[in-house]
């Protein structure tokens, strides 16, 4: 079976130790977590894990089943890239002199649709949100000029179809 990128969305209680429990399931199957993001979700007091993996659909289905079975997990889903709207964010810290001396830097900022977050005497910080390849492109363009620091977030994603969480919780509360 063909390997693909999958985005796993996990809705859970906000409890200590759950991340360890969930990551252990990936560890058991020797699957690398390509990106991980934990945040609040659209439902109050419900957390959302967004996990990106590169594996087969059989395995992702099994993993999601085993994740969902954890007591504090409310529901887990997996989706392909085509089924989601997804983004990552990155920050680039670059020397301020470049901003003034290198005309091309300004072109890169314009063409990449990135924002200048801050400018100080020594450095300035660019923020870029978008697909992984867009961020990678920008990285490649800035690299020759010297990147002082770089960081990229995990993927965040929403699905095109509905994820029925609220109704599940409502059912329980009844």
């Amino acid at each position: 079976m063909e390997k693909k990128w999958f985005t796993i969305s996990v809705y859970s209680e906000n409890s200590v130790g759950l991340l360890n429990r969930i990551s252990g399931i990936f560890l058991k199957r020797h699957i690398n977590i390509e990106s991980l993001n934990v945040s609040k979700s659209e439902i109050e007091h419900v957390s959302k894990f967004t996990i990106v993996v590169y594996t087969t659909e059989d395995w992702v289905r099994n993993i999601v089943g085993q994740v969902e079975k954890q007591i504090e997990v409310i529901k887990a889903f997996y989706h392909t890239d085509e089924e989601t709207i997804y983004q990552e964010s990155a920050l680039f810290k670059v020397a301020s002199t470049l901003l003034f001396d290198e005309r091309n830097i300004q072109n890169i900022i314009k063409e990449s649709n990135s924002q200048i977050v801050t400018v100080s005497r020594d450095f300035f910080v660019l923020a870029k949100s978008g697909r992984r390849n867009e961020i990678d492109d920008m990285y490649q363009q800035l690299k020759p000029y010297g990147i002082m620091q770089f960081v990229r977030s995990g993927r965040i994603a929403v699905t095109k179809s509905e994820m029925k969480i609220s109704s599940l919780l409502k059912e329980f509360n009844q």
């Binding site: 200590v16 089943g65 504090e72 997990v73 409310i74």
Partner: protein, 561 residues
């Protein structure tokens, strides 16, 4: 009621109907032990000789009673010693609550004396775990622990309680846990799936049932029997499904799996509908998945959604408690007989009997076989004993030849294959079923992994019957070395001590036999004893267990020799 956290733990246990726990004291759990002393008239604590023994005893107790087993240990090494038993309970779906002491809250994370991250360590092998650092959290967490351990697919839960939480006082009140919003232990049965399952079963020409422990945990033994009889379907059990049906039921065709019976393994690849009930298609059952029941439609009854399509793709998946789903299925099932299909099992049994069983159970050679010992126990106990087995050749022989008349009578370490399981598990089994005979069958290797629990038996006068089938080898590994590693017997020869003397040291009545003429009378004598009894049987040293499906081979490639 203003009480300490430690006293609260006792009241929680009593509220959950617990009257017997196993454990081992130590620094961080001493406040609880102080309360156990005060409440000893209501709550019996059995001091095992090692924390691992406490978990296996709790497991044995849980397996025969269906109740939650409880084990207690201190922090650090006490807690880590529980891990093997917890992992065993996790893979074999045994309800168990483990309570560990932990260093005081202000010391957490400081590498304090006997501090260990038992939450981190136990996470992959528990159904749920939780650290309590405040006394007031104890009732809610323990209520949740018992609920989670017992409900749905059961499993082990660990609650780690810091010393300050045991000492501090708070206003105690207790409420049973009735649900956890993120946890759905009993999936609602799907009427359409049940109808589809019934249609497949009714139309089948060669239907075949394979059932596991899910039938026992769901208490669906009657429903299974009715299904088997009404639809006339041959049924085979997995190792953990043993005793869910009478061994001698005409439609019970034996055991599937690596050392299971010839017919059910071979005919798995001949049936047209495979009905799996409360089993999880373990690799020791299926062999190679690429060649497993490919010709058959698969119906999978299970309570755990994560088991569906995990190993074998189901054509129809029926989620839910086995008792509930089978009750819904039964009215849709047409009465049927599949005589010629059933005869195929009988023919295969005859082949297996002639080539293997006859020589094992009624041997003509000098040395005793393991199987004839089991058969004598069957005869002397009238198939009524609880049989506890350890792990290895003797376990497979026991599972193959022990006979059962009553459910919850087979206690063995199936999924994890934990050597050392049987002796402590037998203690728990006996304490959970004092009116029944409990016979532990153990190999000379596994026996020495938890042999110190003889002390627990001696101290508590637990009348368990211990049979060590001694072949002076780690027999199963030796068998594999013979078959797959050109007889290079690396570290499988055991130079054993005088087991009888060891038992005598614990004042346990004991005997060693090595000749057939002594077998029947000694087993009778053992079962007649009202006290604990140790019997060492010297058996053939280099016997192999057959049939056998070599690891990774197809069930069709089952070997008779």
């Amino acid at each position: 009621m203003r009480i300490s956290g430690a006293e609260a733990i006792i009241h929680c246990l009593l509220a959950e109907g617990v009257d017997l726990i196993y454990g081992y004291p130590g620094g961080a759990i001493m406040p609880l032990y102080d309360e156990l002393y005060k409440f000893q008239h209501k709550l019996t604590h059995i001091l095992t000789r090692h924390e691992q023994g406490a978990t296996h005893a709790a497991q044995g107790y849980a397996r025969v009673t269906g109740k939650v087993g409880v084990a207690v240990a201190t922090s650090g090494p006490g807690a880590t010693n529980l891990i093997t038993g917890i992992a065993d309970a996790q893979i074999d779906s045994t309800p168990m609550v483990c309570i560990t002491g932990q260093v005081a809250r202000h010391l957490l994370g400081s590498d304090a004396f006997q501090e260990t991250d038992i939450i981190g360590i136990s996470t992959p092998v528990t159904k749920w775990n939780c650290q309590v650092t405040k006394a007031s959290e104890i009732p809610e967490v323990l209520a949740k622990a018992f609920y989670i351990a017992k409900s749905g697919r059961p499993g082990p839960v660990l609650v780690d309680i810091t010393k300050n939480a045991q000492i501090d006082e708070f206003d105690f009140s207790y409420e049973h846990c009735k649900g956890v919003r993120s946890y759905n232990p009993y999936p609602k049965p799907n009427a359409k799936a049940i109808e589809e399952a019934a249609n497949l079963i009714n139309a089948a020409k060669k239907p075949f049932i394979v059932f596991g422990q899910g039938v026992i945990l769901g208490e669906a033994e009657k429903q299974l029997k009715t299904l088997v009889e009404k639809a006339g379907i041959p049924a085979a059990w997995t190792v953990l499904g043993l005793s869910a049906m009478d061994t001698d039921h005409p439609l019970n065709v034996g055991m599937v799996g690596m050392h299971g019976n010839y017919g059910p393994n071979l005919l798995t690849n001949e049936c047209d509908v495979l009905i799996a009930i409360g089993m999880r298609f373990d690799d020791r059952v299926t062999g190679s998945l690429d060649t497993y029941a490919k010709q058959a439609k698969i119906i999978h009854f299970d309570i755990d959604p994560a088991e569906i399509n995990k190993n074998v793709k189901a054509d129809v998946a029926v989620l839910g408690d086995s008792k509930v789903t089978l009750d819904l299925l039964l009215p849709l099932i047409k009465t049927n007989k599949h005589e010629s299909w059933h005869n195929e099992f009988k023919e295969k049994y005859k082949i297996e009997f002639d080539q293997i069983i006859k020589n094992e159970v009624y041997p003509t050679k000098d040395k005793l076989t393991m199987a004839e010992v089991i058969e004598e126990i069957n005869i002397a106990s009238g198939h009524k004993a609880i049989i506890v087995s350890d792990v290895g050749q003797h376990q497979m022989i026991t599972c193959r030849y022990a006979k059962f008349k009553q459910t919850k009578s087979n206690v063995t370490s199936g999924g994890l294959g934990t050597m050392g399981f049987a002796l402590p598990a037998a203690i728990g089994a006996k304490m959970g079923a004092m009116d029944r005979e409990v016979v532990a069958i153990i190999g000379d290797g596994g026996y020495q992994m938890t042999i110190q629990e003889l002390g627990t038996i001696f101290q508590n006068k637990t009348p368990v019957k211990i049979v060590v089938l001694n072949n002076d080898h780690l027999g199963m590994v030796r068998q594999w070395q013979e078959l797959f590693f050109e007889s290079r017997y690396a570290s499988t020869v055991m130079v054993n001590p005088d087991f009888v003397k060891i038992a005598e040291g614990y004042h346990i009545e004991s005997k060693r036999i090595s000749e057939r003429k002594d077998l029947k009378s000694t087993i009778k004598e053992m079962l007649a004893s009202k006290d604990a009894y140790f019997l060492e049987v010297k058996v053939e040293k280099e016997d192999n267990v057959f049939p056998m499906i070599p690891s990774g081979a197809s069930v069709s490639d089952i070997r008779l020799k």
